[in-house]
Subunit: 137 residues, 2 copies
Amino acid sequence: MAHCTPAQTAVLKALQQQPEPISAQALYTLIKAHQRIGLATVYRALDALKRMGRVQHRVTLAGETLYNAVEQDRHYMTCLDCGQSFPLDTCPLKGLASAHQHAGSFTIYYHTLEFFGLCEPCSVTHPHHNRYEAAQN
Amino acid sequence: MAHCTPAQTAVLKALQQQPEPISAQALYTLIKAHQRIGLATVYRALDALKRMGRVQHRVTLAGETLYNAVEQDRHYMTCLDCGQSFPLDTCPLKGLASAHQHAGSFTIYYHTLEFFGLCEPCSVTHPHHNRYEAAQN
DNA sequence: CCAAAAATGATAATCATTATCATATACTTT
DNA sequence: AAAGTATATGATAATGATTATCATTTTTGG
């Protein structure tokens, strides 16, 4: 197997058209509206595309797995309190050459990067001081 | 609820002693050997600690969820072919001030960062050229 | 100390994901 | 082009990490 199957192509193209990361189930529903495809096939295609370095996944704080095409290099700041993810304007690794091709003997296709903390509204409700040190005990 | 419960403390301390990220199930087995604790409690403690910013999770390519204490700021390069994760020596965001405290109005507690690609042995078996462009079709 | 609230442990339930298997499709050989 | 072989697919059953449930225990606050 050295090329993309029709199903994998359909999955990749659908992902490339998504404005936001999407779940496997939602992707299945989306594609199924236009062509015959099985849920298992969507999962298999996603897995294959992941291993090809074309698709990446991110698991949210709530445990949901979301997929996106790797060329959509998007990063988020996720609030630990309300769970909202705020997209960053640019990739923080922009200036880091090693992030984009090689690190030592390792060939890099893509990276994942996310920040976790408190958004402004939540840090007012739950001041940094109390929360962080409370967990220290 | 403004402080750490005994179970949460046990979970956090166990995590802080782990040389590597660990699964919830393995953590449960580990702690249970020393004290009475339920599996559901381990999961609840992990979730609470995650929301407190003390614990983070990472989901491997194989779908396994691993947890670590956030002070163990470790990053990996993961091979898409063999699935092996190679730890980085230092945090690539070391020089990025915004990564460690504030980004705009967002208070940052921790970040996750991982690179995906091919390790040297696998890139010999599966040259970059063929794999990447084959998926372009 | 006591009532109320929160956390716990055992275990059943959930559901995203994967395994199974018959069939379809793609690839290779004749 | 046909036949043989290999791979992928779709429907659906199975899986297992994780969460819900509930009686009980522990913690909190007055």
